[in-house]
């Protein structure tokens, strides 16, 4: 009987141990950088939604060229679908299987860097100085020493207008400032034309200059009187019919405004510089002749995608070499030639914009690309690494409520700031 109990207890303990292993418990332990400094071995390289007819040949070419240069290395290129990338990264990092070289936007890089999962490029790479300072800065985080991503491709946002709808409402020219846009919206609403289908988010309030920063000196600071006034103005415009009903039903989600713009439902949308060739010409070709493009308002946003190196890479030298290779000037130029409207992340590549301009399909795309190129010099990162998607969603929910008129703009922003302050990772 005693033997049976012992065996049963043994099985129970073994199961419990196996289960503990399942949870991957000690994710907090710092990663160890192994490797003997020799560029060899197998490495994995992960991109985000870039495996398609356009980009696959490019990446295959890059991988082949690198493998030729370093015969001992085998690069396994994997691509993740657009949706759920954050969850995928979390799952990979949690199970200690983050790809050796990985495409990360700055906010994901911040989470991984703060849990010690990424290599400090400032320490380990000799070529970091070759990249644009703004781009490198996007991967430096308050409170964490180091730099955690090579800027890969950069973008910004432009304003797009429906000229036909503007004319219908008696507005002759596309508004030049955000203030003018709100005035025009009120005028257009009187003719039954809706100007937009979105509610402002804190990041958007930062772009239009209603708040200087989202997070400053350990505090969230986007509840400025100016920002509250913008929201109150939106509430009035909503009542007047300048904002569609759909704007509120999708509060907190992205992309709805541009979709409604594509159906000819609203006058104004913001979108990336490649919107003309990539989106409207494909999804709404009939609308194309009516579209006009102008530069972004106030502080145009800077979007950065970067390449980071996992600290847990078994072949860290090869991983670092590949990360540098894929983001070097010639590879970046070749990449942005395919991704019209984006800009490369190295100083040398940006010295000659003609080299990567590519051939636009539509005339308007040419105008958009040129506007974007001029705008890039002033473009600034919006948000803050500490400002998470959940905080942005909460803020948008509250702002949507303010737009219905149930609460004031100030109340909405105060609540959003309070929520962000309570939920910031300490």
């Amino acid at each position: 009987m005693k033997i049976r109990t012992t065996v049963a207890a043994g099985i129970a303990v073994a199961t419990a141990l196996a289960l503990t292993a399942c949870t991957g418990g000690s994710s907090s332990s710092p990663g160890t950088s192994s490797g003997d400094g020799k560029i060899s071995g197998n490495i994995s390289f992960q991109t985000w939604s870039l495996k398609n007819d356009k980009f696959t040949p490019y990446f295959e070419g890059v991988v082949k060229a690198f493998e030729k240069e370093h015969p001992g290395v085998k690069v396994n290129w994997i691509d993740q679908p657009g949706d759920g990338y954050e969850d995928k990264i979390l799952q990979q990092a949690g199970s200690g299987e983050l790809p050796d070289v990985v495409n990360l936007p700055p906010e994901y890089a911040y989470s991984l860097a703060s849990s010690g999962q990424l290599v400090d490029l400032k320490k380990d790479s000799k070529v970091l100085g070759d990249y644009l300072e703004g781009g490198v800065g996007a991967y430096k985080f308050d409170g964490i020493d180091g730099s955690f991503g090579f800027p890969w491709y950069l973008g910004t946002e432009l304003n797009y207008w429906n000229k036909d709808l503007l004319a219908k409402g008696g507005v002759a020219k596309a508004p030049a400032t955000f203030e003018d846009t709100l005035d025009a919206a009120a005028k257009l609403a009187a003719s039954g034309v809706a100007t937009m289908s979105s509610v402002p988010s804190p990041k958007m309030l930062q772009i239009v200059g209603a708040t200087d920063a989202i997070y400053k000196d350990g505090k969230f600071v986007f509840n400025t009187p100016k920002a509250a006034a913008v929201i109150d103005r939106y509430a009035k415009l909503y009542k007047a019919g300048a904002i569609t009903a759909q704007a509120l039903q999708v509060a907190g989600t992205e992309g709805s405004n541009v979709n409604i713009f594509n159906t000819g439902g609203v006058v104004w949308t913001t979108a990336g510089p490649n919107y003309i060739d990539k989106d409207v010409a494909v999804n709404a070709p009939n609308l194309l002749p009516a579209v006009d493009v102008t530069n972004g308002f106030g502080n145009p946003p800077l979007f950065v995608q970067g390449i980071s190196v996992s600290k847990k890479s078994k072949n860290s030298a090869a991983a670092m070499a590949f990360a540098e290779f894929v983001t070097n000037t010639s590879n970046q130029i070749a990449f942005v030639k395919l991704a019209a409207g984006f800009f490369p992340g190295t100083k040398a590549a940006n010295a000659d914009p003609a080299a990567f301009a590519g051939t636009p399909i539509n005339e308007l795309q040419k105008a958009a690309t040129s506007l974007a190129a001029k705008q890039m010099a002033n473009a600034k990162m919006t948000g803050a690494p500490q400002y998470t998607e959940a905080m942005e969603t909460y803020a948008k929910q509250q702002i949507a409520l303010a737009v219905t008129g149930e609460i004031s703009g100030k109340e909405a922003l105060d609540k959003a700031v309070q929520y962000a302050q309570q939920n910031v990772a300490k």
Binding site: L19, S28, E86, S115, S256, Y394
Partner: protein
Amino acid sequence: MQRQRWFTPYLLVLPAVIWVFVFALWPFLNTVVLAFTDARPLRPARFVGLENFGKLFEDERFGYALSTSLVYVVVCVPLLTFLPLLLALLVHHKIPAIGFFRTTFYFPVIASAVVVAIVWEFLFSGSGTVNSALQFFGFVDRPIEFLSDRLLLIGCAVGLTVWKGLGYYMVVYLAALGNVGRELHEAAATDGAGWWRRFWSVTVPGVRGPIMLVSVLVCVGAIRVFTELYVLSNGSGGPGGRAMSMVMLIQSMGKGLNGQIGYASAISLVLFLLTLVPLAVVGVLNNSDTIKDALASRRVTKAARVARAAKGAAR
């Protein structure tokens, strides 16, 4: 014949036990433990006692989520308990082509909830079919905010749940209706009972068990509603997130690299306890006869004891 070793039966059940442990018990226990920590992905968790539960009371979104789920229960339970029964009565009779109607009523069940919800979004959005029709006929000037007004949004989601659930519960009732004796109906009819009277006095008591089962399934399902509200509001829960359900709140709090897993686990735990309530109520109602008998027998025993004691004292 060789005798089996003592551990053979244990070995045979071991795979099933491990399966249950890994995929049911362990995640559950893990959630309970996490509910008392400030766990976030990729960071070490710290024990925080009841802090997460205290936070629940201050979080107005939790209050809205709770009330959304309760409204869902209050509206869905009667609708999905009785409408499928009426539908089942309708298709219970053996008439030509009844199979066609049964299949048609069952169709929404097979359709994917997400696809159906997207179709409903087309119908009810600001520029959707319903609003376009209302505007075309001049009933309204501005689109009705079906998907942004809190109650209208919940109403649309309830409509979707009911429409999609009717067929499933109809089948449950159809099976049960087959067991209600025809002779009971005939006897009641002979005694002069009309259709309504027979429905309440013969049919309903005949399917009492399935009614209980259906109502508890609907109740638990309604507390845990997610897909309908999520798709109809594009995950936003409407202005202020006021039309979020409990599960939507758990999802929005727990997801991503900065997800608050500890807090989300605390909400999950509360949700679990809430789903126990209807189960307990049905448990009591279903066993009411047994409970009554037990109480009665206790009373009898007590009375007998008292009588015996009184008799003893008299002597």
